[in-house]
């Protein structure tokens, strides 16, 4: 593998060198600048800058910055972004030119008469594979359960991405587990993405600007996860005027306030959301055994930025969210309080060293905490777990030449892992826990990549990432006897190395363009994952515990090969693609048979290790323009796992295995007032493990399970519809109504299967299988407003 990497590095260096040669022959100048929304001043991410007549161009980065270096001359440059009016600008390039532009949001009427020949063809042109940008504003008219727009549920409608279950924001990408998705919010890792057991994601759509999903061909500037990257950016805030927006929904309400700190120089945004499930449910649970139960969640997003000069800009952003579940028994002295949630904080500094060298430095803090507190009589119990990161990173983007975009950087994180630790007291006696065995680790990575256009037809993105991981003390490593009692230990002091891993990760993708409408792409991605989450269930739970690699837990390693054909029709109105992929995953982790969750036990002792494999094909058809737009995605895939210690060593279907997965998403803009949306999903039934036989223990019916995931539930399918009404615009206050119907034909999709026994186990027992469906038809109304 090292030889392969060396080979790739050679190509990279040689290509840069040869491309640099003509620099001496002809004078070149750089055109650079920022693209923003004309109304709010928000930077535009992934906007296109194209040199008319050549097809050559670039895109803005995550901060709205672009740069391209061209030979001296006069050019017509097109600046375009979907949903915005294209700007055509003549540029005389006889010196370096800084061009900051503001794009106007396009009206619906304008969309219909869009000038042909200007529409972006990024999916055919770029080397990206399996990359989808989802502007958050676009998802707000899609139908959703309980009327809560949710970015993670929207990306589940893309091919290769599967829902973790009914109404769930958790997702699996191309046969990988939920821990193999790197979810970033303004560069901070979000470890637990779900509220209320994943029924809602922690991302409040009002506070977000853009989401990028990369499910294959992960470029070298991302790493640390095997399956995918979901890179979410928060809104910066309107830097021209104070604005407010919000929504009142069926179960939650939102409010966002934004405005300039100093006009055109700095802005802020603050957004909050809270549920009132607890209040709504109270009448239903009164008198039931759930009386005394409370649950709510809330989120707070905040961001501020300030432009010190044309070269320096500072961003500060943060997220804080909590779920709180409480239970108190009215009839007895039992109380339980369970808060959990994420917090993140990101400080970023953008600096332009020159017109073609952009730098971003970020300092990031993030944590996830979970706690249970319970009291009964004189007995007190507290359990907590979590993960905390301090992260520093620097990313450079260098635009040395029209044919090259070079990115390089380094990334360092200090992790603290708090396993499930419990302490309890009975009266005055403190029942001390074992050593909670916190774990600490350094994780770092260096990377470099070059996206270079070899010819008009051939383009490569070649990169390499070199990650390092070191578990450090304080740590006590135990040896155990056959009864699981510690017999010997090695004590590591603070900062003392315990275990070290590193890797070389080649990343390469290439595109060959047949013509303006079609191209073929291929990619190879190798990744290491040093931190792991092993879930005892198919969904993400607040009790999920992240653990680092250690002497026993080796890094997960994965290779992904992908090949795709891309074709656009009707002047890029329709985008289509067919991608096939194959993934090979080493050191996959599951819980051993007979695992029972327990506090104060080093969870890695309950792990077993094996291999994973996934392969399949994805078809994507998208209509981007017109009154009627949307997409259709279909995935055919196989996902298996093989563990020597599970299922008698035989391969078994992973929980994430879905043979067929289809999503159809449509939107129809009838007129200025009405927009309609519809989604249809179909997926092969979930694989699950059922008992094949029963026996008695202590007179109680006990199941003996058959082979792992050998049973399929019925297929899942569902149709959702929505209608958004925008009443006539007013000067200072606008509002809209979104009517949504989830599960229109009330399909009783299986959520889980359980068995009911009746009668005496010895004489007349009957066993019935029951299938539980979670959500029947659910209508909802959300009122959104802006002022």
């Amino acid at each position: 593998m090292i030889a392969k990497t060396r080979h790739i590095l050679c190509i990279f260096i040689v290509a840069l060198f040869f491309d640099a040669l003509p620099l001496h022959a002809q004078q070149k100048f750089t055109l650079s600048g920022y693209l923003r929304d004309a109304t709010s001043g928000e930077t535009l991410i992934g906007a296109n800058i194209i040199v008319e007549g050549t097809g050559k161009g670039t895109v803005t980065n995550n901060y709205g910055f672009y740069s391209m270096t061209l030979p001296e001359g006069e050019y017509t440059i097109l600046f375009s972004y979907i949903g915005y009016e294209t700007i055509r600008r003549k540029v005389q390039l006889d010196q370096k030119v800084r061009l900051n532009l503001q794009l106007q949001v396009k009206s619906i009427e304008a969309d219909e008469i869009e000038i042909k020949g200007q529409r972006e063809d990024k999916n055919v042109e770029s080397t990206d594979m399996g990359r989808v940008d989802v502007p958050v504003e676009k998802i707000k008219t899609l139908p959703v359960v309980f009327g809560e727009p949710d970015i993670l549920k929207t990306i589940q409608l893309l091919p290769g991405v599967q829902s973790a279950g009914e109404g769930n924001a958790g997702f699996y990408v191309r046969g990988g587990g939920p821990d193999q998705n790197l979810v970033l919010l303004d560069e901070a890792v979000v470890y637990n993405t779900g509220h209320l057991f994943g029924f809602f994601s922690v991302f409040n759509a009002d506070a977000l600007k853009n989401t990028t999903l990369i499910k294959g061909g992960m470029p070298a500037n991302y790493g640390g996860r095997l399956s995918s990257v979901v890179d979410i950016t928060m809104k910066e805030g309107n830097n021209k005027q104070f604005k407010g927006s919000g929504g009142i929904g069926t179960i939650a309400s939102r409010l966002t306030v934004e405005g300039p700190l100093v006009k055109d120089k700095g802005s802020f945004m603050i957004s909050g959301r809270r549920t009132y499930i607890d209040i709504l449910l109270r009448p239903f649970i009164q008198g039931s055994s759930f009386e005394g139960t409370g649950y709510y969640f809330y989120d707070l997003n905040a961001k501020a930025n300030y432009k010190f000069s044309d070269k320096d800009r500072l961003y500060l952003s943060g997220y804080f969210g909590r779920d709180v579940f409480s239970f108190s028994s009215a009839s007895r002295q039992f109380k339980m309080n369970i808060p959990w949630g994420n917090s993140t904080g990101t400080l970023r500094w953008n600096h332009l060293f020159s017109d073609n060298l952009f730098m971003n430095v970020s300092a990031v803090y993030n944590d996830y905490n979970f706690e249970i507190g319970a009291q009964q009589d004189n007995f007190d119990f507290v359990m907590y777990s979590g993960v905390r990161d301090w992260n520093l990173k620097t990313d450079f983007t260098w635009f040395p030449h029209m044919q090259h975009t070079v990115k390089f950087g380094l990334d360092y994180t200090y992790h603290t892992f708090i396993p499930s630790s419990a302490s309890a007291s009975a009266g005055d006696t403190l029942l001390l826990p074992d050593d909670p065995n916190k774990k600490y680790a350094h994780e770092a990575a260096l990377y470099a990549l070059d996206e270079f256009e070899v010819t008009d037809r051939l383009k490569f993105n070649v990169g390499v990432r070199v990650p390092f991981f070191q578990q450090v003390g304080p740590y006590t490593e135990y040896e155990y006897d056959h009864l699981g009692r510690p017999t010997d230990s090695v004590v590591y002091g603070a900062g003392e190395p315990v275990q070290f891993y590193w890797g070389v990760e080649p990343r390469i993708s290439g595109r060959y363009r047949f013509n303006r409408q079609s191209s073929v792409k291929a990619s190879y991605t190798f990744t290491n994952q040093f931190i792991h989450l092993v879930a005892n269930s198919g969904t993400t739970l607040p009790t999920d515990i992240w653990v680092p690699s250690s002497a026993r837990v080796r890094p997960q390693r994965g290779a992904q090969y992908a090949l795709g054909y891309y074709h656009n029709f009707d002047d890029n109105t329709y985008e289509t693609s067919l991608e096939v992929f194959y993934r090979d995953m080493q050191n996959q982790i599951e819980f051993r048979d007979g695992y029972v969750p327990a506090a104060n036990r080093d969870i890695e002792r309950d792990f077993v290790f094996g291999e994973g494999r996934a392969y399949g094909a994805e078809v994507f058809i998208k209509k981007k323009y017109g009154k009627f737009n949307g997409w259709m995605g279909y995935t055919l895939s196989w996902t298996t796992r093989q563990f020597d210690d599970l299922n008698d060593g035989e391969p078994f279907p992973a929980t994430y295995d879905r043979r067929h997965d289809l999503s159809v998403v449509t939107m129809y803009n009838l007129n200025k007032r009405w927009t309609f949306g519809g989604t249809f999903v179909f997926a092969t039934g979930q694989a699950t493990t059922l008992p094949f036989s029963r026996y008695l223990v202590d007179g109680v019916v006990t199941g003996d399970y058959g082979s792992r995931n050998s049973f399929r539930m019925r297929p899942y399918h569902r149709l959702d519809l929505s209608a958004t009404l925008k009443p006539k615009k007013e000067k200072k206050f606008n509002s809209s109504w979104t009517f949504s119907i989830y599960n229109v034909y009330s399909r009783m999709n299986p959520y889980f299967i359980y068995f009911e026994t009746e009668g005496d186990p010895l004489t007349d027992l009957t066993v019935t299988a029951k299938e539980v469906a979670l959500f029947p038809i659910i209508p909802s109304v959300t009122w959104n407003f802006e002022f």
């Binding site: 339980m336 499930s420 001390l432 009692r485 048979d593 007979g594 223990v697 199941g703 539980v772």
Partner: protein, 313 residues
């Protein structure tokens, strides 16, 4: 003993479910299972070994009452227990457990003067031969670890003034790896409150003790502490939150407090989790850790002490 992380998702799911969910009966096609012999064997201090042999049946199989003994129980098996010095072959008895309901138990041929009685700190091998199948297992009787004392307290929220909380003091030995399983019995017909001997209690009231919890001293190794001891009840009995765990005024309470070896603890822990977790949609199925080679179930040693308390009216 304490709320565990797997109990509260049930509460939340319950809330969501009672709000929206719907359920229906379905037919599940399952493959024909391989027949396995299930051992429920125990050996207690001063008592002869007792082994019940049953077998698994297809998950949805119906029971015909007349053929129940042959459908569920394993008859005519050779069952041997050895303490390393001598070996005894257990014999098959038919035992009446309810009106017209019989079960089969293998135990010592001479119950009044058994050849092998359980003794602390000794190891016992079990061998079961049935047709071509041979099942083997070994268990161990740890030292007895009696409770210090029992008393009761009136719960503050008991407005009817009827309930009592049973309290106990336990001094855990200073070595890690002490496992306990306890049982309780309300109002036994005969019991001498001045003894901690479980033998007469066992003989007179077999099967009447209800299982309580299991304890692992990882959380409290070497400590002496007071805590409430819930009234035992079968795991599949419905829970009434108003009375769960309490005893009543006027009760005579017997607590059977048994030290068990680790494999025995692991069986009950995984079994409880498997049975409780069964209706928890979030949990993956837990495989029950059996110590029976070539079969299912448990061959477990118990070193028990019986403690009693009379709660006045």
């Amino acid at each position: 003993m304490m709320p565990t992380s797997h109990t509260y998702p049930l509460l939340i799911v319950g809330i969501v479910l009672c709000f929206t969910a719907c359920e229906r009966d379905i037919t599940v096609e399952l493959p024909q299972p391989e027949t396995k012999i299930v051992v429920e064997g125990r050996i207690e201090v001063d008592l002869p070994p007792v082994v019940i042999l049953t077998k698994n049946i297809p998950y949805f199989a119906a029971i015909n009452r007349d053929e129940m003994l042959d459908t569920l129980f394993v008859r005519d098996a050779e069952v041997y227990v050895s303490d390393g010095e001598q070996t005894v072959q257990l014999v098959e008895y038919i035992q009446e457990v309810g009106e017209g309901i019989e079960t089969i138990v293998y135990t010592d041929p001479n119950l009044l003067s058994p050849s092998i009685r359980g003794a602390p700190k000794k190891t016992y091998q079990l061998t079961v031969i049935k047709g071509s199948d041979t099942l083997r297992s070994t268990t161990y009787l740890p030292a007895r670890k009696p409770l210090d004392s029992l008393w009761y307290r009136q719960p503050e929220e008991d407005v009817d003034d009827e309930l009592v909380t049973l309290m106990c003091r336990y001094a855990d030995p200073d070595t890690l790896g002490d496992y306990i399983r306890y049982f309780t019995f309300r109002n036994p017909p005969t019991y001498d409150p001045n003894t901690t001997d479980c033998v007469p209690a066992y003989i007179n009231i077999i099967g009447s003790f209800k299982p309580g919890y299991i304890f692992d001293d990882r959380y409290y190794n070497g400590q002496t502490f007071d805590f409430p001891l819930d009234r035992g009840q079968q795991i599949d009995e419905p829970v009434d939150l108003d009375t769960y765990g309490y005893f009543l005024k006027g009760d005579t309470i017997v607590v059977k407090w048994c030290a068990i070896p680790k494999a025995h603890f692991d069986f009950w822990e995984t079994w409880e989790y498997s049975v409780i977790g069964f209706e928890n949609p979030f949990s993956a199925p837990t495989r029950i850790e059996s110590n029976i080679e070539n079969g299912l179930g448990i061959w477990g040693g118990y070193a028990c002490d019986c403690h009693s308390l009379v709660v006045p009216e």
